[in-house]
Each structure stands twice: as C-alpha cells, then as structure tokens.
Amino acid sequence: MSLELKGSSLSMARFSLAVACFCFGLALGLPVFSLTPGVGELTGWLRLLKPDQMATTTQSLLGGIRLLWVDGNPFLACILITFCLILPISKFLILWGEAYGMPLSGSIWGRFCRATAPYAMVEVFVLALLVMVVKGLPGGSLIVIQTGAWCFTGSVLLSLFAAQLLKPRRD
C-alpha cells in the first residue's frame, strides 16, 4: 500500500517537475510586464508629437537581461543570470536527479544548491522591486503584468510542490 502511494506520488512529482520546467522555459521567452508611459494631461499631445517616446514597451526575462548587458550594466545582468537562470536550472537538475532515484543533494553541487536555495526566490523579489519602482513613475504610467510572470509563478509553485512530494524519498 505504502509502495503504491510512493509510486503515485513519484509520478505526480515527475509530472509537476515536467510542467514546472516547461513553464520556466515559457517564462523566459514570454513578456513579463508591459509599460505604457504617461505624463498626466500631456499624454495625448506627447503621443501625437513624440510617438516613439510614448510607445508601450514589453519586456521578457531574457530580453531584460540582454538589455541590461547592452546598456552597460553587466553586473546587474550577471546577478539576474545567476538568480533567474543558473540557480533555478540547478534546482531543477537536483529535483530531476531525485525523481530518477539518484539523490544529488549529498553531492557538492547539491550542497551548493541547498545553500543557495533561499536566494533562488531573489528573482521574484527583483521582479517585485522592478514593478514597484516603475509603478512610482509619475503621470499615470501603466504597468501590466503579462503571461511570462504567471508562467514564472506557476513554475516556482510547481517546483515547490514537486520538492515537497520528493521530500519523503530524500528522508
């Protein structure tokens, strides 16, 4: 009975992990948010006279990293690459290893990932900070959270769920 349960929870964990990885890939390419600039009562006039400056811009995670790199902020780009790409992918690798019955958490890589796990949520914090900063723009600028952000959230939640299911195996 317990073996059966273990089998079903394992397949559930694998399924959650697979969806989480796919959602993570989606989140990398889909737009995370869009920004529509506004300057109060002058918005209409500026849209007419300077349409380029007032155009809506949407940003994806990879696009944002690329923009930071190109705009001369390699340090910030590296931080985002570490927390938005390397750490989540490492976390997925560890979880897949465990899902295939090969615990990697005891290895050096596993120990490193476990030590850095609390920081893997930094990407969410960075995103929240970014939205808050842009929300503070004057003149009714509008930020809309796009599908990429929902995919990212889904990926994080599913990976947490999969990790929870795989926990008894680790123990």
């Binding site: 890939g25 390419g29 007419l48 809506t56 811009t57 949407t58 992918i89 090969m102």
Partner: protein
C-alpha cells in the same frame, strides 16, 4: 546514465518551453485584417551610398534630399517632408508647416502625415523615394509590398537589389482606432524581405538628369504655397 537523463530532461523541457513561447508570440501577433482601417506612415528610409550607376548622388559630393511617398490604388496618399543631405532619413508622424504656425487654431490631426488604408491582404502599397533638387525630383527607387505582409507595429522592408537605390524603408502600421482613441502604438517590429517587388522607373523618367514635368510640378506647388501663404496673411490682417 541517470544523471545524463536528469540533465537531458531538464534541458529539453526548458528549451521546449522557450521555443513554445516564441511560437506563441508569433501566433498571437496581430495580422493585417481586411475589415480594419489602418493608419500608415513612413518612419524612415536608407538609400545606398551611390546611385545605381555607381556614381555619387550629387556632383558636389552632397547626399540626396530624400522625399518618400506612399501610393495606394494609384493615388498618392502621403508625402514626407524633405530630409536634406541624408542617406538615412527619419520622419515623424506629425509635421508643422509655416502656414500652420500662422493659424490661431490647429486641430491635432491636421498636423498628422498619415495615410489611411482599408485593403485586402493581396492589394499592393507602392513606396517611392526621390531626391528632390531645386527644379527636379530624381528617382532613387520604388517598391511595392502586399498589404498582407504588413503587421501592426513597425515594418521594415529590406531591399537587396543593386538596380534599386533603396536599402530599406520603414513603415508604421497602426489600426486607425488606436490613433483616434489616443492609445499607445503597438511595439512589434517586423522585418520583411519576401514579397517586395522593386519597381522600374517610369519610361518618361530620366533617372540621371533634369526632369521637366516634375520640375514644372514643383514650381507649381511652390507658387501655390506662396500664394496660399500670402492670401492667408492678408486675410488675417
């Protein structure tokens, strides 16, 4: 073996998700709708450093004075202001004429240099660029593009034909309602290389020298503009 499977599974799923996101973006991108009226304007053009004969554009070494036009169903809907001495020209959606500045009241859409088009995807838009001199407007190049190739957003037509003096021409295409309601412009950038047809100069055109009919037209336009301007000034007084 298990490690390799774990690594491969992770990479394949993440890359698969990323490729699916690209596909979704492409599928969800708005397309040219025959029932929609579109506002189109020319944002810029780039011409080759020499004319198709391989000579300098002007004998004194200066760059051409670029003027672009948009023609639909044999009607010229739009002519840009002149971009002097330029191989790369940029134009805005709006332009203010001296006579507009003399008026006490100007409607915002009167300043717009926009063509409105309502067409089937197979219909052609013709784009022509000329080098405007004092008396003539020399042919640089012209292309036609099916409306269906255009998508809401910025559309850059890339031309790779040595016989044509044009390198690229950029159009902004926006559903007309977006402009009227003052909504922001679509962000999408679309590069078009297929479906563009390079036009040959009309037989009456002399691409290298003086063109009397165009010169006559320019003189007539000049005289009309001056008389309009003087007429308006005297009425105001």
């Amino acid at each position: 073996m298990k490690l390799l499977t774990a690594i491969l599974t992770t990479i394949i799923l993440i890359v698969g998700g990323f490729l699916a996101s690209r596909l979704l973006i492409e599928k969800m991108a708005p397309k040219w709708e025959p029932n929609e009226t579109y506002a189109i304007w020319i944002e810029g053009t780039e011409v080759s450093p020499t004319n198709p004969q391989g000579n300098q554009w002007h004998q004194d070494g200066t760059a051409p004075n670029l003027v672009a036009t948009l023609t639909w169903r044999n009607n010229m809907l739009l002519e840009t202001p002149e971009a002097s001495n330029a191989l790369i020209a940029k134009w805005e959606r709006t332009s203010i004429k001296l006579q507009d500045l003399m008026k006490t009241e100007v409607a915002p859409n009167a300043l717009e240099k926009v063509a409105r088009v309502h067409a089937e995807p197979s219909e052609l838009l013709a784009l022509e660029v000329r080098d405007r001199g004092i008396l003539s407007a020399k042919w640089i190049g012209a292309v036609t593009v099916p409306c269906g190739k255009l998508k809401p957003g910025q559309n850059t037509l890339l031309i790779n034909d040595p016989k044509c003096g044009l390198r690229s021409i950029t159009l902004q295409v926006v559903p007309s309602g977006t402009l009227e309601k003052g909504h922001p412009l679509p962000e999408r950038i679309n590069q078009i290389t297929n479906g563009i047809t390079v036009m040959t100069p009309p037989p009456a055109e002399d691409t290298t020298g003086f063109n009397s009919s165009t010169a006559g037209k320019v003189i007539q336009q000049g005289v009309k503009a001056i008389s309009d301007f003087l007429g308006k000034s005297s009425t105001n007084n």
